[in-house]
Symmetry: C2
Subunit: 324 residues, 2 copies
């Protein structure tokens, strides 16, 4: 059978491309190459970080689920989140590619750009260009360039014994999108369900926290494909203690208990919280500066990411979001 | 009737967005703001130029018309062409966003990236990142960052009396895509027709020429939407002399004469040749360095772009490619 994107898997594809291009990756100005949350390069003594993300209608969102303003905001925030993942970086210039059907109301596009604009103002980012083209479905491609203001934190710096930290709670966005798939947007949702849906539709990048964490962390990424995958990106081996994974009271209620909530936290997507590693001796100081963080496990020399609940190892069932 | 992208037109939309964001465009580091071929900003004493273009299946190309290698090459070349439009700029880092259906053969994607890679090698550009997502149709979003090595030439610098220059011939790509629409890819084409189709599928950025022209030009752009629109972008008023517009012998044969060929040259899209203005007294020296350029008209104080054939003004019929 011929291999397709679906059967080969996206990660296999990216690995192949990275390998093919590896010998081209020799630029002495490259600080962080392909495969991290951002690509970083030095120019005239300044390090710049670049990220690029696409959002596709009916793959990443449905038009009925999210207002055009929130869609614009989300497209921005998820890219700012990639910038935040690199540590102390200020987002500066954004380029928006928008594909839309010819019969899209102009109002829709204007509102989308209102959303973009409000996040530009929030972070003092300059809309710097882009492209508007016809397309069957809405396609959003954002490129964001940031300026390193301090330490760059990559995915590759975790040491055995480091603690694994996270910002805020996990699993809300994944549970939120599941509700939307199940009942659509017009359903009469409970207050707690609405909260989960708003976490799906209105993510917020942790730019400020990233700046502080960057002074302590040995590695960092943002959780776009679930906590389990994020930890796997930072450490070959790690133990996670599920009791310590922070989940919201809304998720606990909607999911019906801690066990099910943890599934969303570990394998749900689009939380856009930061996941990072910190040397044990520095962990308390960071927690004092940012009380909203939690330490949920530690890096070790085992070759896999294990997770424990009530002291018992749980079986890893891969349920992360697959792009293909 | 509610305004849609189609009824409002893409240019109206871009104008609106530019106006809305104008007050945000105050960054002192911005050299060239939104609305040129690239956005340019200074960082650490270095000026960088950024362009972003999208290619959408069944809008910009059909899968049957172009091989995946050529598609990858074209996606690169049209962005390099935007970089070339800014003068003496070296393309450095490229980010590829690719949306593709889940059943796309892995081979197709690999060949697409082979095309990308060959152009990266040609211009010493580093593939620096990107995103691969599922989508109904193939969607390609390229972001290319270049480093200014000399003078930046914008669209806004033409003076009355300047000559209007162009590289190579015009109209081939527009005639080529018309053939593909008419007969499809499997038709038995004449040699000359194949040439026109290859000009559609295999554009080449004029990076080297741009570097030389930048030492002479007062303004420059590349012709992606026809010569007429390109000239309109550089000058409010200009006279074009159609006899001087260079067209290939292949186009003359296929179009059946000069008059019809000129229609393709003026209003056909995707030539990706450079269009620029030069002070009269410097024009001869540039022509000596680059014999392949032609001077086709001059900038004047009239408020419109007129074009003459055999001394008689021709009526402007807007036939440029509309994105919506």
């Amino acid at each position: 059978m011929e291999k397709t994107l679906k059967t080969a898997g996206e990660f296999a594809l990216i690995e192949k491309i990275k390998k093919d291009f590896a010998r081209l990756q020799t630029g002495q100005n490259v600080s962080v190459g392909i495969g991290d949350d951002c690509f970083c390069f030095k120019t005239g003594g300044q390090t710049l970080c670049v990220t690029k993300d696409m959002l596709i209608e009916d793959v990443h969102f449905k038009k009925e689920w999210i207002s055009p303003q929130d869609l614009g905001k989300k497209a921005m925030e998820v890219n700012v989140s990639d910038i935040a993942s690199m540590g102390n970086v200020k987002p500066e210039y954004v380029f928006i590619g928008l594909g839309a059907p010819a019969d899209t109301p102009l109002k829709y596009v204007e509102r989308f750009y209102e959303g973009i604009k409000s996040v530009c103002l929030k972070y003092s980012v300059l809309l710097s260009g882009g492209d508007t083209v016809k397309s069957d479905k809405i396609v959003i491609s954002v490129t964001l360039i940031g300026k390193a203001c301090g330490k760059i934190i990559t995915r590759n710096g975790a040491k055995n014994g480091d603690l694994i930290g996270v910002t805020n709670t996990f699993g809300d966005a994944g549970a939120g999108v599941e509700l939307l798939y199940k009942h659509g947007a017009k359903y009469k949702y409970l207050k707690e369900e609405k909260y989960l849906i708003s976490k799906q539709n209105k993510p917020e990048a942790r730019l400020l926290q990233a700046r502080i964490i960057s002074e302590f962390a040995t590695s960092m990424t943002d959780a776009s494909d679930g906590l389990f995958i994020s930890v796997s990106l930072l450490a070959k081996g790690a133990d996670l203690f599920c009791e310590k994974i922070p989940v919201s009271k809304e998720l606990l209620k909607v999911a019906g208990g801690r066990q099910k909530s943890l599934e969303y936290a570990l394998f749900g997507s689009e939380d856009y919280e930061l996941v990072f590693t910190v040397p044990q001796k520095r962990a308390a100081k960071l927690k004092k500066l940012l009380p909203e963080i939690s330490y949920i496990g530690c890096v070790n020399s085992s070759k896999k990411v294990r997770y424990f609940y009530d002291g018992k190892e749980q079986k890893t069932v891969y349920r992360g979001y697959k792009h293909f």
